[in-house]
Each structure stands twice: as C-alpha cells, then as structure tokens.
Amino acid sequence: MTRYVLRRLGHALVVLWGAVTLSFLVVQLIPGDPARIMLGGGASGGEGAGAADDGQVAALRTELGLDRPVLAQYAAYLVRVVTLDWGTSFAKRQPVTDVIASGLESTLQLGAASIALTVVLGMLFGLGGVLLPGRWVRSAFQSITVLGIAVPSFWLAILLLQVFSFGLGWFPAFGAGSPAALVLPALTLALLSAGTLGQLLTRGIEDGLREPYADTARARGLSRAGVVLRHVLRNASLPVFTMVGMLIGSILSGATIVETIYGRPGVGNLFVVAVQARDFPLIQALVVLTGGVFVLVTLVVDIAYRWIDPRVVEPDRREGARRPRERAGAAA
C-alpha cells in the first residue's frame, strides 16, 4: 500500500509539473510578440491609449523576462509558480492571486452544491433505472436521464432561467448573493452529469443482482427493492468513486458557461474574461489551478478507493490482464 501511495504521488507530481510546463508554453507559443499582444489587449481595456509604443513593449518584455533565453525563462517561471507569484492580471489590473482568490468562494459554493445535487439525482436516476415497474418504463426513464450528455450547458441554463426565474419567479435570475441564487446554476451542472452517474449505478446494480449474495437475500424473503436498497446499492456505489475526477472536470468546464449566464463572479467566469482579454498571466494561473485540482482529486480518490476496496489492482496491471478476456467476451 505504501509503495502504491508513493508511486501514485510520484505520478501526480509529474502530471502537475506537466501542467505547469504547459501553462509556460501557452505564452511561448503565441504567434508574434506576446508583450505587444498583451499591451494591445490591456490598453484597449481601460486607458484608451491605442497601440502601445516600442518603449512600453520593451519594458514589458523585460518585466516578463521575455528577452532572456527560453530555459532561463522556464527556470524563473518554475520559481514563480512555487512561490505563488503569478504577476499582475492585465484585465483586472490586480495581482493574479488576488483576482483568483476573489472568485474562489463563489465557485467552491457552486461546486459543492452541484456535486451534492449530482449525487442525489444520480442515485435517483440509478435506482429508477432498476426499480421502476415495467421494462419499457425503465428503458424510457434511462434514455431521458442520459439526455444530459447531449444537451448544451448554455441551453439548459437558459431554459431553467426561462421556466423557473422568468416564468414561475421561484429563483433570482442573476447574482451570487443569496442561497436561492445558487439553486439554478447548481441544478444545471448537476443535470448534465447526473445521467452518466445514474447509468453507471444502474449497470452496477444490475450486475450486483446477478451475484449469489443477492439470490441468498431474496431466498431469505427480501423483496427485489429490499435487496437493492439494503445490499446491492452499497456495492454498486463503489465504482462511482472513480467518476469523481471526471465529475470535477465537467463541473469546472460547465462553470465557465454557467457562471457567465447566471452572472456569478467565479473562477469559471474569470477564465472566460481572461481569454476574452487575452490576459495571459491569469490564463496561466487558471490552467495550473484546474490541472492541480484534478490531479489532487484523482490522487485522493485512487488512494481512498484502494483503501476501501483492496481487491482493486493497479490500473496498468489490470489493463494487461483483462484485455484478452474482454475481447473474447465481445466476440462471443
């Protein structure tokens, strides 16, 4: 177990380092002079100074270290990342760390609320796919719940606004002040991922019902629903943990659009503003932040999963061992 944790930790650090390198490359890969583009984007924002003069460009190049060799820039960048010195945001004219800190609370609230809602809805969808009476009803229910994969987040967000804010007037349409304002954005994000979660759960429960212990429980006189709720569900919930990383990813992606539509000043909205203004220091920090969150979450989930269920084999070993049998099963 210790060896596994250390290996997993090493892998996480490598990926994190990769994300930092990628964010460094973002600025290196800009066609043309990054300093000129940044000044162009910055100047049109507030001061109306028009095109930046050569002196300003040169000053910025020195400030960003763009006049030094690439490797020296990279080394300096790594030091800045480690010391959390991200420089100044061009769009907001504040230190990048302050800008991100200002959006963090709103996004954390949205993230927590949507994860909670996703789990509740996913459970309902998953159980409905197994427990509803009649094959046709179950299959229709399942196809409705997976709509979330295909529905554009911006469309769903606007539909919910139209129905529940403008139509029924239950929730405020914009802002992040009250808990009521959190309901619709969280619901939008939850509806998008709960279908996948429910599908996974349904499949897990169906597999569980074919296990001998389910037969034993039925033989002891438990109803089908009783077996599912008391025995199978616990086993079937376990694989759902592996989805948490993906879930966080889809919430972060969705937050860009959802926060923009509902007017929430969160990290997702900051990403949109940063790209609109080509605010590269902010983009770099956000790339590392989202990559870091994903790495941390998957690390914790993988280790916890192995601790909860020691039967789990390491992914790469399992891959090699299982593939031939899977293929044989598919061909049969």
């Binding site: 469309w155 590269f280 990559g291």
Partner: protein, 275 residues
C-alpha cells in the same frame, strides 16, 4: 436478396431510436449541403421589417429575431458551419491522436512514457478549459475554435490507438509478419491500422458530437462565429438578451444542437455494439 433487404428493414424497425437518429443526421447533412433547398430565405439579408421578434408561426417556423431575420433559415444555414467545424476538429484529433498512439505503442520505452505522460497532463485540464486556453493562443474565429477543440481532443485518440496497437502487437499474426521479414512501416499499414480502425471510428463518432457541443459552447462565449454568420452557439448568445420575452431565439438553435449530438451518440453506440 429481397429477403435480406426485408430482414434489415425488420432489424431497423426493432431499433426505432437508431432510425430516428439516422433521419436526424440525414436532414442535417441535407441542410449543410443545400441550405437554400430547405430554407429559401437568406439568413443574413432577408429582413422581415414588419415582424421583428415575432413568435413561431406558419410563415416563420422558428419565429424571427431582433432584425426580423427568419430563425429557421438561420438554423438551417448554421448546420454547415457547425458540422464543418465539428468535422475539422475530429479530423485533427483523429490524425494526430491515432498517429501518436500507434507510435507510442510501437516504439515503447521512453517514447511511450513521454507520449503517455503528456496525455495524462492534457487530460488533467478539463476539455473546454483546454480549448479556451488554446483559443487564447490561436485567436478568435470559428476556424480557430475548431482547431483548438481538435487539439484538445487528441488525448482520447492517443489512448485508444495505443491500447489497440498494443493488443494487435500481442497477437500471433504480428509475430508471423515480423519473423517473415515484413518491414515495420508495412506492418503498421497492412496489419495494425486496419485492425485498429473499429474502436477509433466509434470514438470519432462520439467525439464529433462532443466537438459540435464544444464549438457551440465556445461560440456562445463569443470566441467563435462573428455575428452576422449564422452559427448555433452564437445564435443562442445573441438571443440571450431577450430570454424573458423571446424564448424561440435561444430554444430552437439549442434544441438542434442537442438533437445533433444525441443522434451522433446514438449511432456511434450502435456501431460499437456491432463492432
């Protein structure tokens, strides 16, 4: 032969979902290839000045927008932009991703490690955010958004192509080909590629839906299509100002995106079951 045709018709009837999905796609391809045949009105210049913001009616099935343009015509003409952007994106992910995956599996050692770890890094940054970061490098416009979405979609293809190649390389006929002196490139072309196609094509179908969603999302955020051009995502964005009064501006373009992605997903999953 007639019996076989009847048989496949019967098989189709047992899968009404797949048939509906195929119909949806056929209509969309028709819209993309010959938009004027389905919507005679010009999506940009035909303004019905008498009826701006008119709700859906017999004359304007999807209503009209602020300038009195027919929303249905704009949606029909938007099919070409969205489908083309999706195809470009998937073509980019498919060619680069498959090539890298095969190389990783075939070369092994540090090449494999380098490619696989890079893929891990790309996967760590959520797809839409990665596309947005790339858009900030490439600049704005539908074509650049399509390229960004395509580049962000590479990791999935690397992983599946790598796994498939490793599987094929472990099969006996690969050893037979190698020991009989076939050159590596020829082995790749005549043995690995054809056998790896199935799963890759299924992924391409699923990714096409995802790419269309992503392009629409980025256009909605204002990074893609420039206003007079009819594009589904940016149409929803334009309609946002009127969500309280004119629901049809956002409803129809968004519903068409959802139907497109749903149809593509359905058919890809069908193909996977058959493969």
């Amino acid at each position: 032969m007639i019996a076989r045709a009847l048989g496949s018709a019967g098989a189709a009837l047992r899968q009404p979902g797949a048939v509906a999905a195929a119909l949806v796609l056929a209509v969309l391809v028709g819209w993309a290839l010959a938009p004027t045949a389905f919507a005679p009105l010009d999506p940009v210049h035909d303004l019905d000045a008498a009826a701006p913001l008119a709700p859906p009616s017999a004359a304007h099935w999807f209503g009209t927008d602020v300038l009195g343009r027919d929303v249905f015509s704009r949606v029909v003409h938007g099919a070409r932009v969205s489908l083309l952007a999706g195809l470009v994106a998937v073509a980019i992910s498919l060619t680069i991703g498959t090539a890298l995956g095969i190389v990783a599996a075939y070369a092994g050692r540090w090449t494999d490690t380098a490619i696989s770890r890079s893929v891990d890094v790309l996967v760590a940054i959520p797809g839409l955010l990665l596309s947005m970061a790339l858009v900030s490098i490439l600049g704005f416009g539908v074509d650049r958004v399509a390229i960004a979405v395509g580049l962000a979609g590479i990791p999935g293809f690397v992983r599946i192509a790598r796994a498939e190649t490793i599987r094929i390389l472990s099969l006996p006929y690969f050893d037979a080909a190698r020991t009989s002196g076939t050159r590596p490139l020829r082995i790749l072309a005549s043995h690995v590629l054809p056998n790896a196609t199935g799963p890759v094509v299924v992924l391409a179908g699923l990714e096409l839906g995802g790419a269309i969603l992503a392009v629409a999302g980025l256009s909605f955020l204002g990074f893609g299509a420039v206003p007079p051009l009819p594009e589904w995502g940016s149409m929803v964005n334009e309609g946002r100002l009127h969500i309280a009064t004119a629901w049809w501006l956002t409803f129809f373009p968004g519903a068409v995106v959802a139907a497109t992605v749903l149809a593509l997903n359905r058919l890809s999953r069908n193909a996977r079951r058959r493969a």
